[in-house]
Symmetry: C2
Subunit: 209 residues, 2 copies
């Protein structure tokens, strides 16, 4: 009984493998982001992807592996906006652009945002390693950049890491708490005013006085 190679060690991916793996991960994103890892069943993902349960397990040998494959696939994309923040740009522009990109991601990829939120709220049992290495390295690097801007007087003094937390909190809130935001705003689209609101917050916070 041949087994579909895992995407990492696989030599050549067939047309069918490519299509099915994509369908599975998209369905898994739907289901995991809506119910969390424990709250999701392989059957739900099977139904959502249009494949049978044993067929899912032919491509990914366990529910756990579906989840981790999904997570590591997404992690890079998720951190891209922060990576794009360049130390040689204009500080205020760099920060505000980062905020804007991050808000765009909440709007365009709310499932991804909720997937991470679910995982982290529950203590990140399957992601702690990544947080402590990949994310931490990136954060330390960018915190130094921001600190440099502040020391040079190009931005108001503030705590770089808390600044980053604030950017994440404010932007991701619109994706993670979408149902609450929309319930409270009624017909008005949250994203009409959010970009201007967030820009104002960070411009006022960081504008040197």
């Amino acid at each position: 009984m041949p087994q579909a190679n895992s995407p990492t060690k696989g030599r050549k991916e067939t047309r069918i493998q490519k299509k099915n793996r994509a369908a599975i991960l998209d369905a898994a994103l739907d289901v995991f982001s809506a119910h969390g890892f424990r709250g999701s069943t392989v059957d739900q993902i099977a139904k959502a992807s249009g494949l049978s349960k044993p067929n899912l397990l032919y491509y990914y040998p366990s529910k756990e592996e579906m989840f981790t494959a999904l997570m590591s696939n997404l992690m890079d994309t998720w951190l891209d906006p922060l990576r794009e923040m360049q130390s040689d740009g204009d500080p205020m522009t760099e920060i505000l652009s980062y905020v804007d990109r991050k808000l765009q991601m909440s709007r365009e990829f709310p499932r991804e945002s909720r997937l991470f939120a679910n995982e982290i709220v529950q203590g990140a049992p399957r992601m702690l390693e990544t947080l402590a290495t990949e994310l931490k390295d990136l954060v330390e690097e960018k915190a130094l950049v921001i600190q440099g801007w502040m020391d040079a007087g190009q931005l108001n003094q503030s705590h770089p890491k808390h600044l980053m937390f604030s950017i994440w909190a404010l932007t991701q809130h619109y994706a993670d708490f979408d149902i609450q935001v929309r319930t409270l705003m009624g017909a008005e689209d949250p994203y009409d005013a959010a970009p201007h609101h967030l820009e104002t917050i960070f411009r006022r916070l960081l504008q040197p006085s």
Copy 2:
């Protein structure tokens, strides 16, 4: 077979009922906040409360009812800080005090914060009604108060609802994303700098220019 009365319609609660119900809800808070509704088992709650599973179900007839009892018990406490915001106080003081109280709640009641976060991230399947009535009424009321302050020139113009979202996002982030925040901050206690950081953000945002 007598059945313990539900707390709402129960005439007199015995000493034992009082103690056990409290133990159950505290254990349920531990478990539900850490794993979400679907990810928690009645057995886990039983173990955490020191009671047997059938005994739990003697006090609360289903897992669902444990959850909703817990939720409605907590909802009032959770909204208290916002209720305390008085229209006849000094606007800046009222807002900053609200931010401070909300941050304190994240510090003192992280389980409660994560319980709500879990529920809302997953679309609030068991709480949408409460959001749409109790919370919405309160938010509409306070949005008017804030709008009044802004129209009177006592605060900078801003979007009152987005302002409230920002307060929630920034304060609850420290409880809901605790594991991430602590992983990235290392030995430094997040709550050392958070109060000052948040005060600065909102003071700069709202200070009339």
